[in-house]
């Protein structure tokens, strides 16, 4: 009698993520979408103030060559209680540097559940989905969800004229990916 070979289970795909904190709220972001992790102090010398109408979450911009990187307060973006934001995640393929309060851990997720369709407002742009890490549900942010096209247009219009472009500091840079 021939016994069927046990079916090989497909290898589980996992994705490296950074679990971070804004205030007491946990979020996760794919490690691959974080280009740099910097201390927010290291940005302060190189940043310029910016004020776009109705866009409180962006107060500073950093020029990098021809590009501008907008520093987004994670707390204000998510309507959380104000927090200073001690670290900045420079998000790959975006013009966003996200201010967060700390990194909880780096880990991997094997399952990303789509955001339930009951969530039907801006959060659909904010999150790629939800994951469960150690029996805790954590939203996984969408790197492009921090600044919409309309917000970028507003910010570009509010940009101060360029000045010294050589002054950008790289002190405090940590390679993230």
């Amino acid at each position: 009698m021939r016994v069927a070979a046990p079916a090989k289970s497909a290898p589980t795909r996992s994705e490296q993520i950074i679990v971070f904190r804004i205030g007491s709220q946990l979020f996760a972001v794919s490690s691959a979408s974080v280009q740099e992790v910097r201390s927010s102090d290291s940005f302060s010398g190189a940043s310029t103030e910016i004020s776009a109408p109705g866009l409180r979450k962006v107060r500073h911009v950093v020029r990098r060559g021809d590009r501008s990187l907008f520093i987004v307060s994670g707390a204000l973006h998510f309507d959380l209680p104000p927090s200073p934001g001690t670290l900045a995640f420079v998000l790959r393929k975006t013009r966003t540097a996200l201010l967060v309060d700390g990194i909880e851990k780096m880990t991997s997720m094997t399952r990303l559940q789509a955001l339930p369709q009951s969530f039907c407002h801006e959060e659909r742009q904010w999150y790629r989905g939800l994951t469960a890490i150690d029996q805790t549900v954590i939203p996984v942010v969408h790197p492009e969800g921090f600044l919409s096209a309309e917000e970028l247009t507003l910010l570009d219009a509010a940009m101060p004229p360029p000045k010294n472009r050589d002054g950008e500091s790289t002190e405090g840079t940590v390679s993230a990916a």
């Binding site: 009951s118 969530f119 939203p139």
Partner: protein
């Protein structure tokens, strides 16, 4: 009871929100579970409180009490996991309830045009007339966004 009358009986789960009772078609209920930890995170959908983890699934918790009885629930005894349709797709949604639930067989009278969209029909049980809830209409979903933007458009178009 005649055979034809018996065939019209359907199963419903009776639930309690505060002092009032409502019904949901039994076929729309996946499970009845004890309250567990609610995970909360920032979002803008007012009726959703957060999510619970159930058998590996992440299930949104939707407090429908404010819509149905005009106030939020102060205490909750159970979550009714209802099946919510989104076109061809279905998802679970957890509805907090304040009392024990009961499975009954009853005949449902169709909703009238003047009834609110969340009323699927009416049934009579133990001297009460009870609203049968349309889970798809009482819980938020992409349709809500469409209605909101259409309403906004109408309001903006007014002189």
């Amino acid at each position: 009871m005649t055979v034809s009358a018996e065939l019209e009986l359907q199963s419903f789960v009776l639930l309690r929100l505060g002092e009032r009772r409502f019904a949901v078609r039994a076929g729309q209920i996946a499970e009845l579970v004890a309250p567990s930890r609610i995970f909360k995170f920032p979002h803008r959908t007012a009726q959703i409180e957060g999510v619970i983890l159930r058998r590996g699934r992440i299930v949104p918790v939707c407090d429908v009490a404010e819509t149905l009885i005009g106030k939020k629930l102060m205490s909750r005894r159970l979550y009714l996991l209802a099946v919510r349709h989104y076109g061809a797709q279905t998802e679970w949604v957890a509805l907090p309830v304040t009392g024990e639930c009961e499975l009954i067989n009853a005949e449902m009278a169709a909703a009238a045009e003047s009834d609110a969209p969340h009323v699927a029909g009416w049934l009579s049980h133990a001297g009460d007339v009870i609203e049968v809830l349309n889970v798809d209409a009482i819980t938020p979903g992409p349709g809500e966004m469409r209605v909101e933007s259409e309403t906004k458009g109408v309001l903006e178009a007014r002189p």
